[in-house]
C-alpha cells in the first residue's frame, strides 16, 4: 500500500480527513483520495457561514475525468475555506494533508461523529479497497 495515512487525524469512509482541535474541525481529502482522482483541476468551495450536517456534500473536486464530492465529516458551520485551492487546485495532489486543507468547520455544540475512523482503522479500510 503506497498511500500516506497521518497520525492524529480522524478519517471518513469517503476518504476525508479531519483534524479536531477543540470545536474546530479542519477537513481535507486523503492521499488515497487524491491518488484516485489524479490531476485535480477545479475546486468548488462552500460559502463561509454555511451550516452542514455530517455526510452532506460541502465541496466539489474535479479531476480531468471525474467529478467528486467532499462530504462534511461533522455537523457544524463552515468558518473558513482554503481559497488558495481556487488558483492552485493541484495543491490537493501535492500536499493533501498540509497546504491543501479544504474547509474549517465549527463543530455543533455537543456533536460527535461515532463513525469517524482513527488512522489504524482507516489503513485497514484502504487495504480492503486494494483487494477489491
Amino acid at each position: 500500500m503506497n498511500w500516506q495515512v497521518q497520525k492524529g487525524l480522524k478519517y471518513t469512509r469517503t476518504h476525508e480527513w479531519v483534524r479536531l482541535e477543540g470545536d474546530l474541525a479542519t477537513v481535507g481529502i486523503t492521499d488515497y483520495a487524491q491518488d484516485m482522482l489524479k490531476d485535480i483541476v477545479y475546486v468548488e468551495l462552500p460559502e463561509v457561514g454555511r451550516l452542514a450536517q455530517a455526510g452532506e456534500s460541502l465541496a466539489v473536486l474535479e479531476s480531468v475525468k471525474a467529478v467528486s464530492d467532499l462530504y462534511a465529516p461533522v455537523d457544524g458551520e463552515v468558518v473558513e475555506v482554503n481559497e488558495a485551492l481556487l488558483e492552485q487546485p493541484e495543491l490537493l495532489n501535492q500536499d493533501p494533508y498540509g497546504e491543501a486543507w479544504v474547509v474549517k468547520m465549527k463543530v455543533a455544540p455537543g456533536y460527535e461523529n461515532p463513525d469517524l475512523l482513527d488512522e489504524e482503522a482507516y489503513a485497514v479500510l484502504l487495504e480492503e479497497e486494494v483487494k477489491e
Binding site: 489524479k38 477545479y42 466539489v60 474535479e62 480531468v64 475525468k65 481556487l86
Partner: protein, 368 residues
C-alpha cells in the same frame, strides 16, 4: 454483465500500474502517470496508446467496392491502393451507425476500422447488407492496434525499421512495414490532432512491438510515454474530433455533427441519402459547435446550455484542456445560436457559467 475483454497488452498495462476501467466492453488503461502529463507529452514529444479494442473487418471480393459505396456516406471511388478515407455509416433515417476508416488494400480488398463499442453492431449491420461476390470478415481478435502520436513519432519508427515512412502522407498507409522484425501495417493517421501513426500487427506480436517502441523512445531520448484513453479523449476533444456515443449516435446525423464534407450526395444511392437530403432542405434544428468556458469550472457531458433565459442546447463532451488551460466542450445548439463568438451560459450544478461559442477545432498543430 459479460466478462470484460482484454487486449493482448493487458499484462503490460498492469505492470505499468495503469489505472484501468471499462470502456466499450473492454478493460482498458485510462491513465498511467496522469492525463495532463500524457496530453502534454503527446503534444510535445510522443505517446503510445493501446487501441487494440478497436474493431477491424476485411471486405473482399468483386462486390466489395459497390457494397462500401452503398453503406458509407463518403465516396470511395477516388481511393487508390494505400489511401484511407473517413466516413460515417448511416441508418436509412439519417442517424449514425458508426464512423469508420476505410483502407484500400486493393481494388477488391478493403480494411475497415470501427469503434470498439460498435464492433458487434457494425458487423451485424454490414453482414445483413453484404452482396454476392464479396466476403466480410471480422479480424479484430487476431489484430492489435497501437497509436503512436506526437511530433517525435516518426523518429521512433525510424529507429525500428527502414521503411520510407517520412514520405508517407496523412491518411495513407504502407501494408507491410517491418518494425523490430515484426510485419505491420502502418498508417499516418490518429485521433489526437498531432502527427502520428497507427500500427496494426498480429495480436501475438503486440507485446514485443509495444516493448520495442517504448525502448526505442527511451534509447533515442524521444520522450515517448505510454498514454491511456483519458488522454486520448482530451486530445481528440482539443482537436475537435467527434466521438461516437457523444457527437454521433443513432439519433444524431453526421450533418448535425458538422461532417458534411464526408457525405457525398453526388456518388449515387447510399443508405441514409434521402433522409440526409431532406435534413439539408428542411434545415437542421441543431448543430455541433465548440464551447470555451470563460470562468472557472469544468464543462461536462449532459450540462445544459442556455442563452440566459431559455435552454438552447446540451453539452455532448467536455473536459479541462491542459493545452488551452481552460475548460472546453462540444455542444449541440439550436441552429440560430450556433454562431461563433456568441456568449452563452453553461449550467453547472444549477449555476450559470459564462461561455463562448467557438469554431472547431480548439487546437491545430503548427504545420511544418
Amino acid at each position: 454483465m459479460a466478462e470484460l475483454k482484454k487486449t493482448p497488452l493487458f499484462e503490460r498495462h498492469r505492470a505499468l500500474k495503469a489505472a484501468l476501467a471499462e470502456y466499450g466492453g473492454w478493460i482498458m488503461p485510462i491513465q498511467y502517470e496522469g492525463i495532463i502529463a500524457e496530453v502534454r507529452q503527446t503534444r510535445q514529444k510522443a505517446a503510445l496508446f493501446d487501441v487494440s479494442h478497436m474493431g477491424e473487418f476485411l471486405v473482399e471480393g468483386a462486390g466489395a467496392a459497390a457494397f462500401l459505396q452503398e453503406v458509407l456516406t463518403n465516396d470511395i471511388s477516388a481511393l487508390y491502393d494505400g489511401r484511407i478515407i473517413y466516413s460515417p455509416l448511416c441508418y436509412p433515417h439519417g442517424g449514425t451507425v458508426d464512423d469508420i476508416l476505410v483502407y484500400r488494400c486493393g481494388a477488391e480488398r478493403y480494411l475497415v476500422v470501427v469503434n470498439a463499442a460498435n464492433t458487434a453492431k457494425d458487423y451485424e449491420w454490414l453482414s445483413e447488407r453484404a452482396k454476392p461476390g464479396m466476403s466480410l470478415r471480422d479480424i479484430s481478435a487476431e489484430t492489435a492496434l497501437l497509436a503512436l502520436q506526437g511530433p517525435n513519432s516518426l523518429a521512433v519508427l525510424q529507429a525500428l525499421g527502414r521503411a520510407p515512412l517520412e514520405q508517407l502522407r496523412y491518411y495513407h498507409f504502407l501494408p507491410e512495414v517491418e518494425l523490430a522484425g515484426i510485419k505491420c501495417l502502418v498508417s499516418r493517421t490518429g485521433y489526437t490532432g498531432e502527427d502520428g501513426f497507427e500500427i496494426f500487427c498480429p495480436a501475438g506480436k503486440a507485446e514485443a512491438l509495444w516493448g520495442a517502441l517504448l525502448e526505442a523512445g527511451e534509447l533515442r531520448h524521444l520522450g515517448l510515454v505510454p498514454a491511456g484513453l483519458g488522454a486520448r479523449d482530451v486530445l481528440r476533444l482539443e482537436a475537435g474530433l467527434p466521438l461516437y456515443g457523444h457527437e454521433l449516435s443513432e439519433s444524431i446525423s453526421p450533418l448535425e455533427a458538422g461532417l458534411e464534407r464526408f457525405i457525398s450526395f453526388k456518388k449515387g444511392p447510399f443508405i441514409g441519402r434521402e433522409a440526409l437530403l431532406q435534413q439539408m432542405e428542411a434545415g437542421l434544428s441543431r448543430r455541433l459547435c465548440g464551447l470555451i468556458l470563460l470562468e472557472r469550472g469544468v464543462i461536462r457531458e449532459g450540462y445544459p446550455v442556455s442563452d440566459g433565459e431559455k435552454e438552447i442546447g446540451v453539452v455532448s463532451s467536455g473536459t479541462y484542456s491542459p493545452t488551452l488551460n481552460r475548460s472546453i466542450g462540444m455542444a449541440f445548439l439550436a441552429t440560430g445560436e450556433a454562431v461563433p463568438g456568441r456568449a452563452v451560459q453553461v449550467v453547472i450544478r444549477d449555476r450559470a457559467h459564462r461561455a463562448q461559442v467557438v469554431t472547431l477545432p480548439f487546437y491545430r498543430r503548427e504545420s511544418k
